[in-house]
């Protein structure tokens, strides 16, 4: 009997709280930093080229064979603008096959590939399955245009192991500090 009143009071109180609904296509929840969308390539703004050298490690480790990578000689190396001897020529990822296992991110030697942690990494409905095969410009677009503001660079498995990769910038800063103190 009292329980009925309590239940009614609870629902009435709930009615005056702010609804939890998010009107999805119009407004979106903020995704977590480690949100694991489909893999995309990162852009090296300093050298104005891709981090990816086309070494094919990711393609060889991919358990579902969704990647195709080719390599070419880096023209910027000849011009002296870059230290990369080789650079990626063609890069295809079939998002329809990809199972978002994060292995490509873990094996990449150049930290060139990340899991997309924006909504664009999951909003991928297409009318044709063929449209889900992404080519190099499509894979680089988000990073190159700056839409991928804060990519989660560390490989997920490594992140959970407690190991943190060395960041050269931080080391430099630390070295500077030490130097300053001395």
């Amino acid at each position: 009997m009292l329980g009925i009143l309590k239940a009614a009071a609870t629902t009435i109180r709930a009615a005056f709280r702010r609804p939890v609904t998010v009107q999805y296509p119009n407004e979106k929840k903020e995704l977590p930093h480690r949100s694991r969308g489909f893999p995309v390539l990162l852009w090296d703004f300093e050298k104005d080229e891709s981090f990816c050298t086309g070494c094919q490690v990711c393609a060889r480790y991919c358990p579902v064979d969704c990647m195709t990578v080719t390599m070419k000689d880096n023209p910027k190396k000849a011009e002296g603008k870059s230290t990369r001897k080789k650079i990626v020529d063609k890069f295809y990822i079939d998002y329809a096959r990809c199972m978002r296992c994060d292995i490509c991110v873990e094996v990449c030697n150049f930290d060139a590939i990340v899991m997309n942690n924006t909504w664009e990494g999951v909003e991928l409905s297409r009318y044709d399955r063929q449209d889900l095969v992404m080519d190099l410009p499509a894979l680089q677009r988000q990073s190159q245009s700056g839409e991928l503001k804060d990519p989660f660079r560390e490989p997920m498995g490594v992140a959970h192991s407690g190991w943190t990769p060395k960041h050269e910038e931080e080391e430099e800063e630390a070295a500077k500090k030490e130097g300053g103190e001395k």
């Binding site: 009997m1 009925i4 629902t11 009615a15 609804p19 939890v20 609904t21």
Partner: protein, 375 residues
């Protein structure tokens, strides 16, 4: 001139009034489905319909179009006529009951001297439709739902009618307008609180809404009698449900809460009367929605035991109290006091029954251990 002719012709007049009601009922149904989804949504901390039109206002219209254009399916093994006529067996009596229901002092179709009796009689007919739907669908869930509906509606019909009978005893008339006329200064709920509570509980069960939605429970019998219905016939069941909800709400505000009379007295203009009725009826409907959002479903044996062991004896108790007060000409307040005391006893026993059916408490006596006993 033409208006005068129409008013003079009794049949034509009644037909036009009925036509207006028949047009307004589906419109009202569209509005109230939207309102219910919205209110329940807010009670669940959701938004309710938001997509179709501003704040989802056109959701009801969109649903109507969808239901109208859907295919009208019928299982091959179903009993054709029983299956197809079942929605009509539910909707027609309820709409016929609206004939005798006054909305204000002047806005009504026909005021019958036996109006209360007529409405209760037609309201009880919906059981036939449920049994027809359950039997005709040739589906075990529909059959179980139909049988449950029959058991529940027949059981709760008795305390429901007895609580209305208590009102009729005090008013010594079955004419609803006359009953409302008596309540200019004091609504009848002041004299009959017990009858009012029984009316609301039994009315909730008559409407098979939560927590009494056993016949149509989705998680138990996947919609009960409606399981095989689609499109327009299914929406007729919904129409019947919502119209009978409005019917019981209006009836309750007329016979217990003083209708268009209390608290302003009888001399208010039509707009005031309508506003008064709207407030009271909306109160009932919001209460039904609140109960729907708050309470879990009862078990069948709990439902039956509650009706036969608690509601029915207390409904008779209210009749006996009325009889004593009226026969011996005791002052009016004695009726209020005795009714309130009986209401207290009813609530106490309900509370005890609810505690007994809990997990932690084990009833000690043999009589309390009988399956489904609430006493």
């Amino acid at each position: 001139m033409i208006l005068g002719l129409i008013v003079d012709n009794v049949v034509l007049d009644a037909l036009i009034r009925l036509g207006v009601i028949m047009l307004l009922v589906p419109v009202y149904m569209v509005i109230i489905t939207w309102a219910e989804r919205k209110v329940i949504g807010r009670l669940h901390m959701r938004l309710g319909p938001m997509r179709v039109g501003p704040y989802g206002l056109l959701q009801g219209l969109a649903d109507t179009i969808k239901l109208m254009t859907k295919e009208d399916l019928r299982p091959t093994t179903a009993d054709r006529w029983v299956f197809e006529l079942a929605p009509f067996a539910i909707v027609v009596p309820i709409i016929m009951a609206l004939v005798a229901l006054p909305f204000t002092a002047d806005i009504l179709i026909r005021n019958l001297t036996l109006g209360l009796f007529y409405i209760v009689a037609l309201q009880g007919l919906s059981i036939v439709g449920f049994v027809m739907a359950g039997f005709g669908s040739d589906n075990k869930y529909a059959l179980i739902g139909g049988v449950r509906a029959a058991a529940q509606l027949i059981s709760y019909e008795v305390p429901f009618i007895l609580s209305i009978l208590a009102v009729a005893m005090v008013a010594s008339t079955l004419d609803i307008s006359a009953i409302v006329g008596l309540q200019g200064s004091t609504p009848l709920i002041a004299y009959l609180p017990l009858a009012f509570v029984i009316f609301v509980i039994a009315g909730l069960a008559e409407l098979y809404r939560q927590p009494f939605d056993i016949p149509v429970a989705e998680s138990e019998v996947v919609g009960g009698p409606f399981v095989e219905y689609s499109g327009i016939r299914w929406s007729m069941f919904q129409l019947g449900e919502f119209v009978s909800m409005v019917l019981i709400s209006i009836l309750g505000s007329l016979i217990f809460l003083g209708g268009w009379q209390w608290p302003l007295g009888g001399d208010v203009p039509v707009v005031g009367q309508m506003a008064l009725m709207a407030v009271k009826t909306t109160g009932f409907i919001l209460f039904f929605m609140l109960m729907r959002a708050s309470l879990p479903r009862l078990r069948v044996d709990q439902l039956m035991a509650y009706c036969w062991q608690l509601l029915l004896p207390f409904a008779f108790l209210q009749i006996i109290i009325n009889g004593l007060v009226l026969a011996y000409d005791w002052p009016n307040w004695t009726m209020t006091v005795m009714s309130l005391a009986a209401l207290g006893a009813l609530l106490y026993l309900t509370n005890r029954a609810a505690r007994q059916s809990g997990v932690t408490y084990q009833p000690s006596t043999a009589s309390a251990q009988r399956v489904g006993s609430v006493l």
